[in-house]
Each structure stands twice: as structure tokens, then as C-alpha cells.
Symmetry: C2
Subunit: 414 residues, 2 copies
Amino acid sequence: MARRTVVIVGAGFGGLAAAKALKHANVDVVLIDRTNHHLFQPLLYQVATAALSPADIATASRTLLRGQANATVLMGEVVAVDAAAKVVRCADGKAIAYDWLILATGAAYSFFGHPEWAQEAQVLKTLDDALDIRARLLGAFERAELSGDPAEARKLTTFVVVGAGPTGVETAGTIAEMARMTLRRDFRRIDPTQARVILFEAGPRVLGAFTEPLSAYAKKALEELGVDVRTDTMVEQISDGVVQAGGEIIEAGAVLWSAGVAARPAAAWLGAEAARNGAVVVGPDCAVAGVENVFAIGDVASYAMNGAPLPGLAPVAKQQGDWVGRLIRARLEGRPDPVPFRYKDWGTMAVIGRSRAVAMLGGLRMTGLLAWLAWSMVHLMLLIDFRSRLIVYVNWTWAWFTKGRGARLLTRLP
Amino acid sequence: MARRTVVIVGAGFGGLAAAKALKHANVDVVLIDRTNHHLFQPLLYQVATAALSPADIATASRTLLRGQANATVLMGEVVAVDAAAKVVRCADGKAIAYDWLILATGAAYSFFGHPEWAQEAQVLKTLDDALDIRARLLGAFERAELSGDPAEARKLTTFVVVGAGPTGVETAGTIAEMARMTLRRDFRRIDPTQARVILFEAGPRVLGAFTEPLSAYAKKALEELGVDVRTDTMVEQISDGVVQAGGEIIEAGAVLWSAGVAARPAAAWLGAEAARNGAVVVGPDCAVAGVENVFAIGDVASYAMNGAPLPGLAPVAKQQGDWVGRLIRARLEGRPDPVPFRYKDWGTMAVIGRSRAVAMLGGLRMTGLLAWLAWSMVHLMLLIDFRSRLIVYVNWTWAWFTKGRGARLLTRLP
């Protein structure tokens, strides 16, 4: 019988875990991703705020799977799935046949019915996004210094962040910290500590998925860092760097968007049932109903546990990927299915600046330095290879002691 | 009397050394550069071949001068000098007045009367150049793997390097090493070790500035790495990835240019005497004749010692910058000029792959591991701040032991 093929689309936490779980299976594994690397997204905001370099949080997928003889890594963009023919189609026309298909393409941002805002506001999803944001932030201070005009400088160094989930909170907090602490001595004509950071949130609390006391703690930490927090405020308009929200008009040097997550169009590819945010609805075994041998994991999937969808977190994707890999292997080998998938909660954390954080783990609630240490440990363990851990550790330690921004490179004014 | 201003154009080895030498002078120092960082160019080829990351070899100029109260750093592009009005003009129209001017703008590449080749071949001068080359190299292997067609793969992974000075030799050697060693296990459909690297040199020897035995050693080391070395061969045409040289037609996946260095147009800005390669002719004190209080240092200057111009090396720029800074300070303070400038030769080195190198220091000639160690030490000492040294050391050690390519990131196929 011909050797069969598992095609995995997406080299994030889910896709990579599934590939690795199939290491010893008698099957060919083809991993397709739009980039050539696995990206550690939880730390992407640190690349965007010039604390870490891209290579600190990303590793070539080939490097990660070089020791796995049955794994082929391809760099390509999947645009369609022909479930009847059991083939995925790439943007360049190539078709790749599968016996099993695992979709792990993750999520993207949505703009609440204002797709034109994608040109106005920057999202943080890929390394290119992070480098664009970094260039915009650093460039704002450079232009301000060149101009030497206080009014111009103030406008240039006004930064708006939309959406107070973990990403928005982490980003807003570190921009404020960068302006008030890191850059303080670096400029002569302007005072970088006069930069403004405004965080808009449509809901009543920052970190709405956390408990109320943790939300309140995070809000206070943000304000102590100098962030202007505006909850219960929806953004009405963004145009040419001008943000209209809560009845106010703000001229901003950069607008960062971290509200409104929507899943990538895998459900549309399959003609399958989609959840409200576009995610593919899957069964308890991560399988997509109505198509044969197709699974969806991670942020692209809507997996219900105890009546509610699992959150879009890295440990969810990783555990699902590993489980589905083991399931496919068991079926190939004629063994019984593994124990039904059960998500083990590693906790939810968000960090605000250098030493403030909030964390929830089961019934535990942590704030401050303890939460920050827990956050650091979990993230270091999640980092996929030893070299990244060592490098990130060195860079963090250096940044901690020197309050520095290690990766502040700008090749031209954007 | 109003405080006077020294304007320094260029934040390379020369410009930064001059700025630092003026730290305690009673003068304002304005350092202008097109980018926001100081770049360690000798290691740029390692970013281009994905061994190091940009942040490993570049540091924000503001960070380097943050502790120097009299230094202002501006990010801008100088396009003209009005020596009568004592003003430099930037691309955006800004004019910056000086009492003393130090030009340290370095060199660029020339294409021997074929400016159209600038679209065909990539040079290695800035971080952007290095990242473009890296994308081109990595992308070539990715496209080859996607195609799966041996003939297509061979064409894609044929790399041509023009110019066998240190940069060309170092680059060609590491590309060959990357293909034969680092990437060997990473691909399934193609054999990366079948990649071709061809190094063209118009002159009779590689590393023409070195002695004949060292040239011969380098050529042998290159050939052992699998580089096809073609001396006495001029490139006649480059068009659409097709290189015509020595009567042969070669279809290449990437063409890298490291022949023909020409200085940036500072001489034209000043209307001053230029050497054959465009460099500004300066006197023994690095001053430009015919204009008041203007100095030129490093690769942009042609400084004659013992009848021949000093080479375009980092230690030359650094020593000249430091000396001119001290000269200006002495004149400001009414003290005698420092002892006349005398270049101290730190040696010339070139590295070929992981453990081969050639070095000349005074009368000493070194090859092999000894030269490589000397090269490593000198470069580590030249690296401008401690953090870079530590990070580069960790990355080098890791790369050495794992024969890996630490910074192999590609966000989209170029």
C-alpha cells in the first residue's frame, strides 16, 4: 500500500506540535506555511517595541524538523481546499494531495466592518508587522527630534492602541515604558517622556477575560506607566492618523490595532460550519464535520468545552496539535484512539511593563512580580528550542538591568 | 562667545570615534546619519548569510552616545555642503550650521560604467542590503524545494559573486558552506549540496591586496568549500539573472556584487580635489584643502601615507576619527595640535568559512585556525559595546558547535 500523507497547513504552535507527534508514524508529513519560520507570537510585541530581535523569537521550520525524516517543509500560501479530491491548492497553482489534512492557520484581525482601517492602523500578527510597528515607533521619535518643534513633536509621539486585550495592554504598557524610561536620555531637542499613549477599549474593563480585581490592577499599572486608559469607548473613525473616539479627535503618530480577532478563512475553504468569528466548528476530536479526514486546531478552530469555545491561546493549539497527531498515528496503526482530548489550562497571563503582570491559573490569581515570574517561566518553556531560550534569556536579562531597548534599529524613516 | 558646533556626517567607525573624542570638549556635536544605527560592517556578510541577526552587529547611535551630554544625534540624509555659509543641507531641506565639519560618509560600490547592473546584482553595504541578500539566498532554496524539479533547482541555486576582495571571498565561502553543511539535512526534494557558487575576479588573484602565498591559500580553501574560482575573468554582462563572463553564460539565482568600490560624493559636495575612486583628497591632518574647517576621514577620504592612499579599513577610520576629534578640541582650547596622525596597522584579515582565514600583521603572515582566531579577537574588540560582544559571542559559539544558521528567517518569497 502506498505511503500516505498528512498535510498540515500552518507552522505555528498547533501545526508544529502535530508534525512532531507524527515523527515515528509510517506516513509522510508535509508542513506548509506562508513564511519559513515558526513564530513565538506571545513575544511579538517585544519585537514591535524594540526589546527583542526577530531571530530571538522565530526559528526556521526546517531547522525545527530537520531531524524528522518523514517531514517535508514547504513555503507556500494555501488558498483553497478541494475536500472531494483531497487536495490543497496553493496561490501559485500547485496542488498537494493529502490523506489527512490538519488546518492550523490561526487567526487574523478584523476591523468591525471597517476594512479600510487596515490601511490606517497596524496590527501585530507577523514578524513583518512587528518590524513595521517598530519602524513607525522609532521613526516617530526620530522625526520629532529632527523637527525640534514641540507641537509637531507632540503630535508625532502620540500613540493610539485600540483594544485592551492582552496584546493591546502589553503593547501600550511597553510603549509608555519605552518613552518614559528607555529613551529618556537619548534625545536633546525633544523630551520623549512627553509622548502620549492612549488605549481605547470598547468594553467596560481592560483585560475583559480576566477577573475584575485583576482588570483593576492592570488598569492601575497602565496608568502608573503613563498610559491614558479609555474604557467604554469605541473608535468611530480612523483616517490619516486622526482617530475619532468618544467624542474626541486625536492626531496620532501611530495607530495600533489589537481589537476584533477573526479566524482565517479555513471554514470558507471547506464550506463548513463557522462560528461567529469565522472559526471552523469542530467536534470533540477536532474533526470537521461533513468532510473526510480533515481536522482544525488552534485559533482557526472553534472547539467547545463545557459549552464555551476554548480561548485562542498557544497552549490550546499545542495540546490539540499533539493530540490530533497521536490520533492519526493510532488510526494508521490500527490501534484504539487516544483518550479523548481534554485541555489542560496552563493559565492566562498578561504583562504590563517591566515588573507588573497579572495571571490566572485555575483558581490562583497572581499580580505583580510573582505573576511576572510565572509569565516568564511559562513563556521560556513554551519557546521551542534551546537556542531561543538562551538568547531570549540573555537579552531579557540585559534589558532588565540596563533598562535598555536592545533591538532599536531603523534603516530609513518610514 | 556662542558655543560652537562640530557637525559629523556618518555614524560609522570614523564618525563615532570623532564624536566620542569630543566628549569633554566645550562644543556641541551633531552626528547625522541616514540610518539610526552604527553598523559593524566587517560582519555584515554574516547577516547576509543568515548566521547573525541585524541587532547582533548594529547598535542605535543614540544608545552609544546617550551618556554624552554635548552630542545630538539626528537621522537625516545630507545631500550638499555650502562651505561658504558653513552649512550642510539635508534631503528634506533642513540646513544645519557648523563651525567644523567632519565628513565620514564612507564608500559605496561602483559598477565599472554599467550603472544598470545595480538592478541586477546586489551589493552588501547596509543592513537592508544584507537582509535582501539573505532573503534572496534562502528564497532560492525554498523555491527549489517547492519546484522539486532538478533542472529548475540547479538554476535557482546557482549563485554568482563578482569581486574577490575580502567581502567577496567571505561571502562566497559562507554561501558554499551554508549549502554544503548547514542546509544539508533541511530539504527533502532537492539536494542543497548541489548548489553552485561561482566567484569571478578580474585580476589574477583572489585577495589581490594580500601576498601571493596567502592568495593561494585562500583560493585553495575556497575550492575545498566547493567554490568555483574564476580569476582573470571579467564580467561582461548581467541581465535578468544571466551572467556573461569569460565566454560563458550562467543562469543564476542570485548575483552578488563586491567589486569596484567608489567613495560617496563628498568631494562633489565640496568641489574639492578627488582621487581616482572619487574619494576626497586630504592633507596629513585629514583637512580638505580650499575649504575652511572641513575634514574627511575613513573610506570617503584619500589619505596618502608613504606615497600611497591608506586602505578602506575600519581601524583607519577609527584612528582618524579619534585624531581629528582631539585636534579640534585642542584648537578650541588653544592648546597645541596633537602629535601628527600616524596610522597604526592592526593587520588585514579575511575569513573563508568556519575555520580558514588569512591574516597579515606587519611582517607576520598567518593562515588557518591561527588567523581565524586573530580575526575573531580583532573583530570582537572592534565591536563597539559590550552587549554586542556578548551576543555575538553566544551566537558564534552556538553556530560553531551546531554548524547551524541562527538567523534564517524569511517572511515572504522575494
